[in-house]
Symmetry: C2
Subunit: 338 residues, 2 copies
């Protein structure tokens, strides 16, 4: 890489010799699998009979690209694994498209791709195909990543935001707002003390635990942009139900709460990268909760509410007996958080 | 869209109300299919038994975003359809991830997404899932698009850059360099006269025609970044064969040749968005050529060379009887061409 002085050149995106060298050194060494090693433009995946697949994509533009508990590579892998997991799908393969800014340090890029490799290993998924483009200085900030994923949906399983039923228990897998406040703190140099760390993590293992409690799980949704309040609004609309949650039951770390208060934010609207909400058959709710707590990514899982009959919407009961209507996120209090 | 004055706001990428409105108005209306309409984070696709799928991704950063014969939306759809087609796969679904610059005009975005819808219809593929992010002014130029695709590989078919065999005929589907020179002309205001138009087009129909000539096609590669010379080098390396082409047989439009000469470029290295090269069993080469010419995207298909025994590499025979070794593209003479 002498000719590049350890930095990304436009020619690394031109499709020629330098692109090949970059892909060999960046991906083929770290992600050692047959479809990727073929270096054809598509990867071939073999599927079992009578198969339904889940297919998803997500772009990542988080700023800064590295922060406590994660980086843009980690959330790019986890976010796509999690989107697949929310349909109950086991990941079969991921693709990665990089848009790099000319001049990006190779060392930085290596760290990000190392982090992708670590996250992929943690999730048990392979990166099977990809693409790299380079834009000139100033036409991107560092790098953007788009990951897509294909997963296999187990036979007979049907999870969807449309499946919530009156009486279902509403569970969350842990504390809310950690990712968003950590990124804001890192970006703005707010200097909040304490244990702020992104929760970025693959949730497919947690979901497998939950699905082992027979057909009790109806809806899963990961709590990314827009946070819990937006996810609940989406589910409420899609299923045509009212969702009620208890304010005191919603878990938020003190450090995150302090950060939210200083920034004038509501943790219910702040992005997470390793948390989910589930609508679960009331009868089996305690069994699903136990299964969640048995997994490292669900130790702090709790029930926060119930699905009710009524006009679509989300209502939060406050400790003093009041009720507050939670709307979808409006505006963008936390740009480029993922 | 009053609140946005017809322009994209950061809040359109925040995951809340404006994101939902944008997605509804931009995608759900244009791409009317069941997986997309569910608006879950992943799309579910049903597959037949004993299925192998192809999975691919590509990023698009072309500048300008609109040019004669196409735009960033058209090449984003065609490029991904074509990557699938190069494995012989029939497209099952596409995903699209948009990275928008704050302030982008809604009108421009609408035109680009209309163009994606037209190209998808032309290719007979559905857009089934997506994601939209917005970065602040100056952190992108207009918009970047990443499309991924899943396709079904017909039973028993195996195309790969590793399959070229000594004696195979080398065919191209039409003239070379049209896309690259058209984009350069539009971007730099070079003012070349004539019939310059991008060749951006889906090639899956052409490939189906070619594959109907029993199992005679061994390698397909679309001629994007790096052009014909780079694609031939990739195939030559992957298959461990020497590839020889005839300079006089390679079809290049006069207007493209003139543009290349003014810019000091070699059309063999210039990007195409609707052309492919094929390595075909010699015995059936004329049948495959006829099948190609029967399709609108292959009217000007010709044989340009032969696969030979020898050290991996690409050699071009010149009209005066000489031979020139063609290397992979080095450097980036045409940045942001796709």
């Amino acid at each position: 890489m002498n000719e590049a002085n350890g930095r990304i050149l436009l020619a690394h995106g031109a499709g020629g010799r330098l692109t090949h060298e970059l892909i060999e050194s960046l991906f083929v060494r770290r992600f050692d699998n047959k479809p990727l090693a073929a270096l054809d433009d598509s990867a071939e995946l073999k599927l079992p009979d009578d198969c339904r697949i889940a297919f998803t994509t997500d772009g990542y533009v988080v700023k800064p690209i590295e922060f406590p508990g994660g980086d843009i590579g980690r959330i790019a892998v986890c976010g796509t694994v999690n989107d697949l997991a929310m349909l109950g799908a086991r990941p079969l393969g991921l693709s990665v498209a990089l848009i790099l800014e000319e001049g990006l340090e190779r060392e930085t890029l290596n760290r990000i791709v190392d982090s992708m490799a670590d996250a992929a290993k943690e999730a048990g998924v392979e990166l099977v195909t990809g693409d790299t483009k380079v834009v000139e200085r100033g036409a991107a900030s560092g790098l953007y990543i788009v990951t897509s994923g294909v997963g296999m949906i187990p036979y007979g399983l049907s999870l969807s935001g449309r499946n919530a039923r009156v009486g279902d228990a509403v569970l969350v897998s842990g504390t809310l707002g950690d990712h968003g406040i950590t990124v804001m703190n890192a970006r703005e140099g707010l200097g909040f003390e304490g244990d702020l760390r992104s929760d970025a993590a693959p949730l497919n293992g947690l979901v497998e635990n939950m699905l082992s409690v027979h057909s009790s799980v109806r809806v899963l949704r990961d709590l990314t942009r827009g946070g819990l309040a937006t996810a609940l609004n989406e589910i409420s609309r899609a299923s045509g139900v009212l969702i009620e949650i208890e304010e005191t039951a919603v878990p938020v770390r003190n450090s995150v709460l302090a950060g939210c208060q200083m920034l004038g934010l509501d943790p219910l609207y702040v992005a997470n990268e390793g948390k989910l909400v589930a609508m679960v058959d009331e009868t089996y709710a305690s069994g699903v909760l136990r299964a969640m707590r048995d997994h490292p990514r669900g130790r702090e899982a709790v029930r926060i509410g119930t699905v009710l009959k009524g006009e679509a919407g989300v209502v939060m009961r406050t400790p003093i007996g009041g009720a507050r209507r939670l709307l979808m996120l409006d505006g963008d209090p936390l740009p480029r958080i993922c």
